[in-house]
Point group: C2
Chain length 352, copies 2
């Protein structure tokens, strides 16, 4: 039985197009034998498009992206300091625009130290955890404002908005993930001793949902203490669930300890299927090395694995993960490779 | 000319009294030759006091603490999970209570990897930076609330409040610190691409104050990216200035990379002198190891160095820092020592 997957591809800016090209190559290779056809539509969004047309994300863009089963995004963002982009905030308008419009309430960010990869930690141990970051609430809602701007009397506020509805759905997802894993351990990360209202909402919901998952062991860490464990004992983590901003901070730290942002994949997921989910490397557009085939496409390729998993093609997802792990294991003995050479090597491992 | 320093001492809970005892011992030893008299008043505040009297921090406590030149605090907080403390939030009531009442707008947290100390990082390089964390604003102001609590319709908000007045005074302090140091480099850490109102206030003030400090080199990092550099290249940092919550997170991470929370000192400073400043180790009360002479008093002793510096006793401060550095260098060859043995060793190094 053949299946066609309609994929919206947003290569974006900087190294985005290069890494996405390899990710699409790998996607084609891994699904060929499953009798799955990938039909891709390209969306030229990002800083370059904004400079050309003044648009970041139009209703028409959104409507047309929604006709797809999933989204693969490279990276967005122009050259830092480009005055023409000063007031545009492309990352916010496009990335957060898509996450909010498509209700990507689960931001899934696995963290694994692959054999062969050098961690900046002296003795990291076996590290394999997943951060389930909330994606549509918290301080990311855009509920800020300022008065007396530009004066000595300015006051600027930012409101973190947290709802039982929003917290419960992401917490439930995190429990499902934890239950499906060997260790079945879930750590709530927040700052309940200071953010007492948001914190007690998160804590209450975790306690309530925990009652439905008796096999999952639950603990709690303040976000500051969590960063300590990320560097002193990252093996202690299995699944973490946390707020949008804490998740943003912790997942960059997670990427750093596991060998760098060049390997960190993420999924922006709407588990209901009502909107297409979006998969992207955690790294940015790195305009300084763009167009030179210097970028490592591994994070984009691992994002393809998350995408396949999300679409129910779990075997294909596992094959991509294994090919990447293989490639990383062999990598230390290799010369510096171009972006395409890494993609080709992974395709070879997949099709051999 | 003899000088008397009136010191309010808050030993607190758990390991607080043990580490404070060593800090006071060191303070006495180092100031003896300077013809400085330390007159200490003890304040029994913390979880134990709350359980006895129901009070966390009364107006009378505050009035009497304010009669002092400075405050030395051990650690506060009861045994986690103690149901009698459930609604008390001692840390918030006492620590934040003091920081806000005494307008401790500078939270100064140095981070040094001392020779002889093992960092969890494989190759940290030479690390010696200072985080200047804002102490009286941001998401710490207690401006949160919730409606429909305990229901599926609950909404819980937390407001981060940022004022030009509050940001400017701490940014100015950070520039002074940067200017006084060899590298003269200041990094603003925020999340301007998401927290656009608070972020642009911080960025504007930094830009404005920078004009007055032409010799200080300024750069900017998003908080998520900053955590990456903390583990991949901490030597890049000299002085950081950041918001209350980001500072909380980053300074625990800083403590972790520099050999642990057992070595991290902090000052809660009101630079105007209008209120007494407070010095405390970054670590908590660790009730699990309390009363057993297992705690390392080094962070409390380094907090004494910050206190001496603040009181203008810079030579004495330098001597404490050197004695601690000496002790840490020799430490690897030593057996496990009791809390008091560490204090005694440092006193010996100071008085030899
Ligand atoms: C670019 C930025 C808006 C974004 C975020 O803060 O979520 C990024 O840091 C990420 O983690 O995907
Ligand atoms: C105990 C807590 C309220 C406090 C804070 O968040 O500031 C602590 O983590 C610190 O960093 O001193």
């Amino acid at each position: 039985m053949s299946r066609t997957i309609k994929l919206a591809v947003i290569p974006g800016d900087g190294i985005g197009p290069e890494v996405v090209a390899e990710a699409v190559k790998v996607l084609g290779a891994v699904t060929a034998r499953d009798d799955v056809t990938i039909s891709t539509s390209m969306f030229q969004l990002g800083a370059a498009r904004f400079l050309e047309t003044g648009d970041v994300l139009t209703d028409a863009d959104l409507a047309s992206i929604q006709q797809h089963d999933a989204i693969l995004l490279g990276a967005v963002g122009g050259v830092p300091g480009d005055q023409r982009l000063k007031d545009a905030n492309i990352e916010r308008g496009l990335l957060l625009g898509l996450r909010f419009a498509l209700d990507h309430y689960v931001n899934l960010r696995p963290c694994t130290i692959y054999p062969g990869v050098t961690s900046p930690l002296a003795a990291p141990g076996v590290v394999d955890f997943v951060v389930v970051r909330e994606g549509t609430e918290g301080p990311y809602v855009g509920n800020g404002g300022a008065i007396r701007r530009g004066t000595a009397q300015e006051i600027a506020n930012e409101v973190s908005v947290n709802t039982a509805y929003g917290v419960e759905r992401v917490v439930r997802y995190a429990f499902e993930v934890a239950q499906s894993r060997e260790r079945k351990r879930l750590t709530l990360v927040h700052k309940t001793n200071v953010l007492v209202f948001a914190g007690s909402l998160w804590q209450r919901i975790v306690n309530e949902v925990a009652a439905e998952y008796p096999r999952v062991e639950v603990d709690y860490l303040h976000v500051d203490a969590a960063t300590i464990f990320f560097v002193t004992n990252p093996s202690r983590f299995d699944v973490l669930v946390t707020d949008n901003l804490f998740g943003d901070i912790l997942t960059d730290l997670a990427a750093a300890i596991s060998g760098g942002i060049g390997l960190a994949a993420s999924g922006n997921i709407n588990p209901t299927g009502r909107f297409p989910s979006m998969f992207e490397p955690v790294h940015g557009s790195a305009p300084d090395i763009a167009g030179q085939q210097l970028a490592d496409p591994t994070a984009a390729i691992l994002s393809v694995a998350l995408l396949l998993d999300h679409l129910g093609l779990t075997d294909a997802a596992a094959r991509v993960n294994e090919a990447v792990a293989d490639d990383l294991r062999r990598r230390s003995n290799l010369m510096r490779r171009s972006t395409a050479e890494v993609g080709d090597a992974i395709v070879t491992l997949l099709t051999d």
